[in-house]
């Protein structure tokens, strides 16, 4: 049944059984982000009513923490670990290569705006680093050549879908 609810309505429903103590705020911000992919203004308004806090206060909390986003996420997300163990195995170059690949080779078609590239501090998989997370999937032992393969793979996947869509329409 829940599946048919619009995300905001679902949040309203979740909030209605949720305690109002402030210490639930951060967990709830996570819940919203899991649901919407980011913390929208409307959602923050709802929270502000529920917890009796000003929206500015909630924004202040949300923006303090690196995990929360207040803008809509891109279609694909690539996170590159910049933890110490990954750093000493060349993680910085991996990040750079991702950015270069996205900008240089896929920038023109506007596709790269669909990919967000983020740094993270250690995913706890340090023994198999350098590590990246591509759309939720952990990729271990990254190399510059592997970066190219991954970007190409994402690009092709998107375009295949496009081609299929076009075929369907015809």
């Amino acid at each position: 049944m829940n599946r048919e609810l619009k995300p905001l309505e679902k949040i309203k429903m979740l909030l209605s059984n949720y305690p109002k103590e402030r210490h639930h705020l951060i967990n709830f911000l996570h819940l919203i982000q899991d649901e919407l992919g980011y913390l929208s203004e409307e959602a923050i308004e709802l929270l502000s009513e529920h917890f009796s806090l000003s929206p500015a206060e909630i924004f202040g909390v949300a923006t303090f923490y690196a995990s929360f986003r207040i803008t809509q996420p891109a279609e694909h997300e690539i996170q590159v670990c910049q933890g110490t163990a990954c750093h000493v195995r060349g993680a910085e170059a991996i990040l750079e290569e991702f950015s270069r690949q996205l900008d240089k080779h896929y920038g023109e078609q506007g596709w790269s705006s669909k990919v967000s590239l983020r740094k993270v501090n250690c995913l706890g998989c340090c023994a198999i680093g350098p590590v990246a997370v591509v759309d939720g999937q952990i990729e271990s032992r990254m190399t510059l050549t592997k970066v190219r393969e991954i970007v190409r793979r994402l690009y092709q996947k998107d375009n295949l879908e496009k081609i299929r869509e076009q075929n369907d329409q015809e």
Binding site: I26, Y65, V88, G90, N121, C122, C125, A127, I138, S140
Partner: protein
């Protein structure tokens, strides 16, 4: 062992019977234990598990052999791996295609398949059993051993490992002080970094008069490059819960919080499941096990801020605020969460509690040095042959951990230093490898025990670059509340960046030391007070390397990009031109005679050519950009200081 078999346990006697029942239950003919914590899964453990499951079903073997998805086995670089008990056969780095052979030969015929075994490339030796593996030698795996054959989500299996017998024991004593005495006598100290005596912390909180008291489990694990707590939370979550219930009983708390960082979704998921099971059987909630003691736990997901691991910031974060630390005293044991007395301990500290209660403080304190007792888990990573989670007796020397457990440097490399304590710690050179792992000894040497990150560095790591890395991290994570930390870290980053570009002066090194001392003294919380450690310890042990950057404009490890460039070895080059075609900066050109060369003016030292040159050719190498004496740009910022100030 289905979920429905969980029935409410109404008394301590019932609990005792359950533990006896599960511990005494005959084990299946063979247990196939598959490491499937996060790093196992990242390496494909779930594919192995479905292949195994399918194979066992098809051959109707599920009754004879039990497949267990356990937590982390510890040898993380060989994931996914299988251990087959009772023999302890070990199969590393598996592919699903290997599964049928393992079932047929090892499970059914009892044969070990040598072709799948772990082979030490250096010595050529083949290892068949898990406890023979080089990584496991010299370890003392009090906490970690259970990870080899414990189903992290199964309460029954935890019972079979004597789980909750410590809780049962303390609940039979009416005297809560006795619990605290026991923990004090064991000599257990906090495993989260600072090493505060746990028993004392509990006693302080117990002695404060208050209606409400709280417990917190610090699972923020902010040190980038360490994952001991993830290992424990994913592999044996019940032990942390048991430790916390015992702690709650001892200090008189009714409520506890488990703060787990957001980057560990599997740990959060497993902890949630475990708390549900505990509530279902009455190990959490009102009147635990029919006694008068009530206690419950709640999970708080962290949100990606290093400073929230600091205890006062952690409290603010749990209260739903920004994670700003505050001045101490009052310490959290007096005024903590919601203004009430609060005991905050690290995940590993909590996990040690049931063990100490079960085995007794004398047993526990036999191991260690005068001031540091028991074992400590480290995540041994970096430039070492064997990497993974290791648990060692305190007092063992750093050299033993690196050389014997870690197997020393990879072929052709040389170990240079070990970093412990992450952004709050420092590096120790090989000349200090005799130093025992002991809170005080490490502190005196300029680093800290830390939460357990141990990163081995070899000659391909530049200590200036590493110091810069940590300072960048600290300046990014500084909450900005106090000036010494907020401004000091930024200043240090600027100076270190100049050094890595070959634009610094020798006086900058002294400036770094001075700044570091101000930060140590003047910062509000541990983040700022320790942030300079990576630089100060670097200068203490590797000053020459810093000076080489400054004076000769060279990076001996060939890491600092502004100081190196690449070149092509004509003896090895086969003129495939892959590098030329792929250089993003067009810096690789063709000579008139057709040989490719690197145009150093254009080269940005990105390293792609080195990576792309086929392994069998290996024709590209790094070299210093400036010859001896250096032509690096020198900035006379002494006279320019006014401009730098904002």
């Amino acid at each position: 062992m289905t979920k429905n078999s969980l029935r409410r346990i109404n008394s301590l006697i019932e609990l005792q019977k359950l533990i006896e029942f599960w511990a005494g239950k005959p084990r299946p003919e063979k247990i196939i234990s598959l490491s499937s914590a996060s790093c196992g899964r990242a390496s494909g453990a779930l594919k192995i598990s479905s292949a195994l499951d399918k194979c066992l079903r098809e051959l109707n073997l599920t009754d004879r052999f039990e497949l267990k998805l356990t937590g982390c086995h510890g040898f993380c670089q060989l994931e996914p791996d299988l251990v087959i008990f009772p023999e302890g056969y070990f199969y590393p780095s598996l592919y699903p295609e290997q599964v049928p052979a393992i079932v047929e030969k090892t499970l059914l015929a009892g044969e070990f398949l040598h072709e799948f075994a772990f082979k030490d490339q250096q010595s050529g030796k083949v290892y068949s059993r898990v406890f023979e593996l080089p990584l496991y030698q010299k370890q003392l795996r009090w906490l970690l051993d259970a990870h080899l054959d414990l189903d992290p989500l199964s309460l029954e299996d935890y019972f079979a490992h004597q789980g909750f017998s410590a809780l049962r024991k303390v609940l039979t004593w009416d005297n809560q002080e006795k619990v605290i005495d026991l923990i004090t006598a064991s000599g257990l100290r906090g495993r989260g970094g600072a090493g505060f005596p746990t028993g004392l912390k509990w006693r302080l909180a117990r002695n404060v008069e208050s209606q409400e008291k709280y417990l917190v489990c610090n699972g923020d694990e902010g040190d980038p490059g360490a994952y001991m707590d993830r290992g424990l939370l994913e592999s044996n979550p019940f032990s942390v819960v048991e430790g916390m219930i015992i702690g709650g009983y001892a200090i008189g708390a009714r409520k506890g919080f488990i703060y787990i960082r957001q980057e560990y979704p599997l740990a959060i998921e497993r902890m949630e499941a475990v708390l549900r099971s505990c509530r279902q059987v009455g190990l959490l909630g009102e009147k635990i096990l029919g006694t008068e003691f009530s206690f419950d736990l709640e999970i708080i997901r962290g949100a990606g801020a290093f400073v929230s691991g600091e205890e006062t910031a952690l409290i603010a974060s749990i209260e739903g605020r920004r994670a700003f630390p505050r001045q101490r005293p009052p310490f959290p044991v007096v005024r903590g969460l919601f203004g009430q007395p609060t005991v905050i301990n690290n995940v590993e500290t909590w996990a040690n509690v049931p063990l100490i209660i079960r085995q007794g403080p004398e047993w526990y304190s036999q191991v260690g040095t005068t001031t540091s007792k028991g074992t400590k888990i480290f995540s041994l990573v970096g430039q070492v042959r064997f990497t993974g989670l290791v648990e060692v007796p305190l007092g063992i020397s750093i050299g033993e951990v690196v050389q014997e457990i870690g197997g020393g440097a990879p072929a052709g490399r040389k170990i240079k230093a070990v970093q412990t304590g992450g952004p709050s710690g420092g590096c120790l050179p090989t000349s200090m490898f005799n130093l025992p792992l002991d809170y005080e000894a490490l502190q005196a040497a300029g680093t800290i025990m830390g939460s357990g990150g141990m990163i081995v560095l070899d000659d391909s790591t530049c200590l200036v670059d590493l110091a810069l890395y940590f300072l960048k991290f600290a300046s990014g994570e500084s909450c900005g509340k106090c000036a010494p930390c907020r401004l000091g870290t930024v200043q240090m980053v600027e100076i270190l960046e100049r050094i890595t570009r070959g634009e610094a002066q020798l006086s900058d090194l002294d400036r770094l030391e001075k700044l570091g001392r101000v930060m140590q003294k003047g910062s509000l919380c541990g983040l700022g007070r320790t942030a300079a450690n990576p630089v100060l310890s670097g200068l203490r042990y590797f000053r020459e390397e810093f000076e080489t950057h400054v004076v000769r404009k060279q990076c001996p490890a060939l890491v600092c990009r502004k100081l190196i460039t690449y070149a092509i070895d004509r003896e090895k080059c086969r003129r495939c031109y892959l590098c030329l075609k792929n250089c993003p900066f067009g810096a690789i050109k063709k000579e008139a005679d057709g040989w490719p060369y690197v145009d150093e003016e254009l080269c940005q030292s990105c390293g792609l050519c080195l990576n792309i040159c086929p392994k069998e050719f290996d024709a590209i190498f790094k070299k210093p950009r400036y010859s001896e004496g250096g032509e690096g740009r020198m900035v006379d910022y002494e006279n320019n200081q006014g401009l730098n100030r904002k």
